[in-house]
Amino acid sequence: MEYLPNIIFAIILIAGIGYFANNVKKLVRNIKLGHKVDANDHKSERWKNVINIALGQSKMVKRPVSGFLHVIVYVGFVIINIEVLEIIIDGLFGTHRVGQEFLPAALYGFLIGAFEVLAVLVLVSVIIFWIRRNVIKVKRFLSSEMKGWPKSDGNIILYFEVVLMCLFLVMNATDTVFQSANSGNVISQFIAPWFNGFSLEALHTIERTAWWLHIVGILAFLNYLYFSKHLHILLAFPNVYYGSVEPKGKFNNLEAVTAEVKLMMDPEADPYAAPPETAEDEVPAKFGASDVMDLTQVQLLNAYTCTECGRCTSACPANLTGKKLSPRKIMMDTRDRLEEVGKNIDINKGKFVDDGKQLLGDYITNEELWACTTCNACVEECPVSINPLSIILEMRRYLVMEQSAAPLELNNMMTNIENNGAPWPYNQMDRLNWKDE
């Protein structure tokens, strides 16, 4: 029975990581429902983006208050998690604070001291975040798409972090050996006196409880990610890597259209020629996107990465003037629909069975799509290189090229371009008249 705690620990660890891995597999499968994207170009620029934008948080700090607080939580999260290494080793091998044995006392004290200071800073930041969401009510957290689950999700993450940080500090404060060594207990020494009247045994029980809850909490949090907006802590990195390295104004040219236009314009082309029979040249079933499977893998990764901060929406000219369009909602809808499709595949043993629903109409309305000015403010704002505009454009393409469902005025404009090469009904031959007016 001596090894019972070690065995229990190993089981919890394996179960925690195993369940998460299983969900990651689903996530990858869902993302792969999208079209493949060739992102083998600009490798050095992509890595530079990962370093500056993802690791360096360069876009986060453009809004100084939330940016600064976020950097604290981010740095705290990354660094305090070094402690998890020790916890795992201790848990598996029944050691206690194995770092103390292997590291010089001064270094160990310094590390734990740094973790403690960061834990307090994270606590303070997280509490300010909570106040911003629930007391001050920062406008971008109040939009209609933030009602219900997204609102709870945001708060649950904050509670998780508060609890984890408190457990870490209590664990240190009630560790009598650690306290008596008096190295690295920069914060916990002030918490220790709260437990002054407790017996040694009670202190030990509290310490053990905090230790167990801390590691179980971390595993629970890890598994919570998949069901939460909080996936960004992992996906921000690949997402920034795959983000666009082109000028923002450059919209992709649909290759399938190019092929058809070339055929139309080429007097030599044989309109009755059979299309080449390679898989690469397969004409897509449709132009544009009406559902998540029509989007690219990068766009679907974007949807999973979005942490619903709403910076995009707070900069969107359409949203600022009361229109229904919210770029954040575009991303949330895309993820919700993708999850729905994923569950459909789970239930139907690996095959998607038509559920009579799609992203267009059931999630995103035409009204939202037509309100976009394609100004790229949302793309510019996103701290992790998400591009809501590309999804809007892809869905407009579907509306126009597959359904001829553009607003009447736009149809008139396009007819004019077709007939006389200008969006207005003016004669092509009058194009130079301005010269003599």
Partner: protein
């Protein structure tokens, strides 16, 4: 405009066996829209004054297809692009300047993969170039001390990261340049982009151009400077909506420089 403008066409140039140093892409707004035509002429005035060897396509120019693309009509865009590229390549055009950031973005970024590779610049970049090479000098101090605020066009600024050229040019007029709260990367759209120019806005509580005009009015400007014919229309309408058209004028940088 009193003096006669010299506007050679590519066809005329070719007939004379000449190749201009740059093609001026006038664009649909610049060709047909009454307000935008004034910008076109102002820019030609600058080109003439600086003795720039340029030409236009005239009746051989057609819409870039930019607006069709943003509206979702990729077919129409590519048809227009392929047609224009055929003409541009036949004239062996290498360099293009335009007063329309939408044409600028489209020609620069979206034509290359369809076979149209040109060095494309915005007119504010070209004016800056003319000034720094000494080909264009400003006499007089028409705008000395005037408060000017510049509205960044989305397709020049955010879309292509051109923020300095228009500002550098404006500074040369000795005007006092005042920035709106939202400027450069965070500049608010005028409301015309993405084909909105050609349709009514979706239901909301305000027009985008009014909101953007309010941004501009906060700086208490005498002049709102623009670098896009569509922005110009939107801001002009916004100023009228605010009943400030007697105090504040909305002018393209080409117009400001042509008068300086």
């Amino acid at each position: 405009m009193s003096e006669q403008l010299k506007v050679p066409t590519m066809a005329e140039m070719m007939a004379e066996g000449k190749q201009p140093e740059i093609l001026f892409w006038v664009g649909s707004a610049g060709s047909y829209d009454d307000r935008a035509k004034k910008i076109t002429k102002a820019f030609v005035k600058i080109l003439n004054k600086a003795n720039v060897d340029f030409a236009v396509l005239g009746t051989e120019e057609s819409n870039t297809g930019d607006v069709a693309k943003r509206a979702g009509n990729e077919f129409l865009f590519q048809m227009q692009a392929v047609m224009n590229i055929e003409v541009l390549n036949a004239y062996e055009v290498t360099r293009i300047v335009t007063c329309d950031p939408h044409s600028f973005n489209c020609l620069k970024n979206e034509y290359p993969s369809l076979g149209g590779n040109y060095d494309v610049i915005h007119h504010t970049q070209f004016i800056q170039e003319l000034m720094s090479s000494g080909r264009l000098t400003l006499d007089g101090n028409t705008y000395k001390g005037k408060r000017i605020t510049f509205h960044d066009p989305c397709y020049l600024g955010r879309a292509n990261s051109v923020y300095d050229a228009p500002r550098d040019v404006l500074k040369k007029t000795n005007a006092t340049l005042v920035e709106m709260k939202r400027h450069k990367g965070t500049a608010l759209c005028c409301g015309a982009g993405g084909a909105q120019m050609f349709k009514d806005a979706e239901p909301g509580n305000k027009e985008i151009n009014v909101l953007r005009t309010e941004d501009a009015l906060e700086t208490q400007p005498e002049i709102i400077a623009t670098g896009c014919p569509y922005c110009n229309t939107m801001m002009t309408d916004g100023v009228k909506f605010k009943e400030k058209e007697n105090q504040i004028s909305v002018m393209d940088i080409a117009e400001l420089i042509a008068n300086a």
